[in-house]
Amino acid sequence: MKLVIIKYNAGNIQSVSFALERLGVDFTITDQAEVIQQADKVIFPGVGEASTTMQYLRDHKLDAVIRGLRQPVLGICLGMQLLCRHSEENDTPCLGIFEETVKRFEPQPDKKVPHMGWNNLTLTANSWLDPALENKFAYFVHSYYVPVYAHTSALTEYTVPFSAAMHRDNFYAVQFHPEKSAEAGVLVLQSFLNA
């Protein structure tokens, strides 16, 4: 299997690649359109800010490449948010695979923003995630979230219930960081590799 991590200005590429190394999986890190297009599976990582990252993707013509992919794609954290239609983070139009709009958490007295730390997953019916992940904890760091909707595969609650994982056609996505989520994260990456 040819696995590719899309190389761009995302902060967590190193951590994602170490997680795949620990799984004993071979992969390539690249921003070459043809290499990405010929991969069997693609990982779209992400840590950063939406508007500058979308600008980077457009400048490097990676936006069209990602939209056109037909093989399984996994978006992680900001990667998941960028797969949505629009983000409230600096009013940014995104890739539009998922129709939802990415919203900002409203801070509450006992709910600080960013949502940072370990929180539990509730899987939806027919989720692509391993059933063993039900009620397991994953590591989140984010100030923006995707509401729960038709393509939600797992939800987590923080001020509101939100999408912790999503799936539509060949696109898979997680809001948390599987590469930093201990054994639960391993199960998530394996769920994608088996998808």
Partner: protein, 250 residues
């Protein structure tokens, strides 16, 4: 439900863990990667690695250690010690660290917090504050607690948040090493004052101190070093104790 975090802290000098460790079943107690991996396996929620090497030359080797830590450890970790510029931080994050902590350099140059937050995002900037009570005011100290400053804990923490810090790591020098519990009065004031998470540090002696700091201190996370290194408090038992008492714990 978001859980409270338990964070073992490892002091590193010249690539080795210092302050002593007396674990059994660890081949080499001085190896920070092996010790960190063990804590991760036992249920640590995050780790902190503080480089206390004295010279820049020794510090350069730290980035390669960070890479080694990231390669082997599957939970988030913060690195700190002597960070004073964007140029210091970039190689550490590229090596796989999730967050960096800054302390003395931020007191000297508060604009550093803004710069780092803009360059890397608030979520990876931890402002570490060491303070002790002097004439009823919490006075901020730098250089490992050696130098008193004119800054006060609460105003400095608030300023840190406004400048873009993502978390405050507050160490009470009065409580550090006492094993008599965390500075819960000051911590609960920080909680009321701030919109960013607060990590309690200094004073952990037993499992009940963690419970107190999560309830009385309203801390989001608690950090300790020697009690974990010496096995006085074991992570699985600590987490079981807290869970039984209704604290939200992974």
């Amino acid at each position: 439900m978001l859980t409270k975090r338990i964070i073992p802290c490892l002091d590193i000098k010249d690539g080795r863990t210092v302050k002593g460790v007396n674990f059994v079943n660890i081949r080499d107690a001085g190896d920070p990667v092996e010790l960190g991996a063990r804590y991760a396996q036992e249920g640590a929620d995050e780790l902190v690695f503080l480089d206390i090497s004295a010279t820049n030359e020794q510090r350069k080797t730290f980035a390669s250690l960070v890479r080694d830590i990231a390669r082997h450890i599957n939970i988030p970790f913060t690195v700190g010690g002597g960070i004073s510029s964007v140029a210091d931080v970039a190689p550490l994050l590229e090596a796989g660290a999730d967050k960096v902590s800054i302390n003395s350099a931020a007191v000297r140059n508060p604009g550093l917090i803004d710069e780092l937050s803009r360059a890397f995002g608030a979520q990876c900037i931890v402002l570490a504050i060491d303070a002790r009570k002097v004439d009823n005011a919490w006075v901020v100290h730098t250089h490992g607690g050696k130098n008193a400053t004119d800054k006060k804990l609460f105003t400095w923490a608030k300023e840190g948040q406004e400048r873009g810090a993502g978390e405050i790591l507050f160490t009470s020098m009065d409580h550090d090493g006492t094993k008599a519990g965390f500075a819960n009065d000051a911590l609960s004031k920080l909680h009321a004052l701030l919109q960013i998470p607060v990590i309690a540090s200094g004073g952990a002696g037993g499992a009940e101190h963690f419970m107190d700091t999560f309830i009385l201190g309203q801390a989001d996370a608690a950090l300790a070093a020697s009690i974990f290194h010496f096995g006085e408090v074991k992570l699985p038992e600590l987490k079981g104790y807290l869970r039984q008492r209704g604290i939200s714990i992974r």
